[in-house]
């Protein structure tokens, strides 16, 4: 019992508000330090690629952004479902706070992919499986945000958003594979996602550092946004007004 209570302590918006406030600066520091280190190794230490030259270096932004875009969608669907099933207010708020960051990473992945595609494939955009499924992911994020913003009643908005997020997450693999089959049928451009045949250790290090930096950034931004949502929704709460007065 004691551990259970301990575990759920931060499900209280008041506790979470304080914890997030204390953690946000550390996440920002981690994001900046890891990002600077990752970019320095990626841009100055990692060797130039034999086939793609220096253009491949965009991988250090592109791949972490693409990973984050997919993981954050599943995280969002998870918390939205928890908030719906258990009527946990904080989980719904976190889900709502995750969506813009996930959409931002999806957009970054598409944008950096376009910048990468131009020098290597000779085109900004191909209707290839990866690109199309990532674009659909962006639409799913936009749909979620549009739906929760269109419904004025927050409880209904959270529940409807959760249903949509769960449906969307079931559909993500379906979209991915169907577009893949579609592409092989239509003999699309054959593209290998990996830039080099095998990755040098310094490239891998840079990519991992950048991924961790993205995680830290995501935590910092999502916690900040969650705090804002808490202030907005709990503005009548006593603890919040006492805190502001103090």
């Amino acid at each position: 019992m004691a551990t259970t209570r301990h575990f759920f302590t931060f499900a209280s918006p008041a506790r979470f508000y304080a914890l997030a406030g204390a953690l946000i600066p550390w996440f920002w520091i981690a994001a900046l330090v890891l990002g600077a280190a990752g970019l320095w190794i990626g841009f100055f230490q990692a060797p130039t690629d034999a086939t793609q030259g220096d253009a491949y270096r965009i991988i250090f932004i592109h791949v972490p952004a693409a990973w984050m875009s997919m993981v954050l969608y599943l995280v969002m669907a998870f918390w939205a479902a928890i908030g719906w099933a258990f009527n946990a207010r904080l989980a719904s708020m976190v889900a709502r706070a995750l969506a813009p960051t996930g959409a931002m990473f999806t957009f970054c992945a598409l944008w950096s992919g376009a910048l990468w595609g131009k020098p290597t494939w000779g085109t900004w955009w191909v209707w290839d499986a990866r690109l199309t499924s990532e674009l659909i992911l962006l639409f799913l994020y936009l749909g979620y945000m549009a739906l929760v913003n269109a419904i004025d009643d927050t409880r209904r908005a959270d529940q409807a958003g959760a249903l949509l997020a769960v449906i969307g997450s079931v559909n993500v693999p379906i979209i991915y594979f169907s577009v893949k089959w579609w592409n092989t049928l239509h003999q699309g451009a054959t593209i290998s996602a990996t830039a080099a045949p095998k990755m040098v250790a310094s490239m891998l290090t840079a990519m991992l550092l950048m991924t961790l930096a993205c995680w830290a950034y995501a935590f910092a931004v999502v916690f900040t946004r969650t705090r804002a949502i808490i202030v907005e929704r709990e503005r009548e709460a006593k603890w919040l007004n006492e805190g502001a007065a103090a």
Binding site: L163, S178, W181, W182
Partner: protein
Amino acid sequence: MTSPPVFSTVLGRDLRLAARRRVDALLPLAFFAVAVSLFPLGVGPEPNTLRQISPGVLWVCALLAAMLSVTQLYANDQADGSLEQMLLAGGSAFSAGIAVALAKAVSHWLVTGLPLVLIAPLFGVMFDLSGRSIAALCASLALGTPILSLLGNVGAALTLGVRNGSVLLILLIVPLCIPALIFGSGAISAVESGSSARGHFSLLGALFIATGLLAPLATAAALRIAIE
């Protein structure tokens, strides 16, 4: 089990309402015809180009016709309170919701999907498709339009009483319809290029079964959220 009466009652009522407002019921069909006719005007009357793009054009227009016609599926019933009565009629609100969702999906398909399947060969001829391709077009639309009705149903329930509901519905549901679009138009293209379309039809059938099982549940959940 109290759901069969709810299902047949709602289905019969919706079909009777559609029969009394015939022009309303035929609007999606008119939209489909107008939208399809725009493509030869926009792309140019080159028969080879048209034949090549026709599977995609016909399917995209069918998808949009379904999405535009599905928006008002629950709106009137919610406005006059009959939706709540329907949900209260069954054993539990959820099982009644499933029955209502299924009835609405079936009636929507019978009123808008089935006429599309029947009129599609005409457009196939206008786009200079071969006989076998036209058969594939009808078969893929017959399998695919129920999927669109079922998924549109989820969107209609989710956006019930929401500002700009119809635009929002398209943003929400079109990404979910993409697999049906890909396999549906892919089947026609496969026949047109002389290869077998069996794989496409199998996957389309699998999609139909999966949406048939899951979409009414999602719709019932969405209705409960909306009515609460």
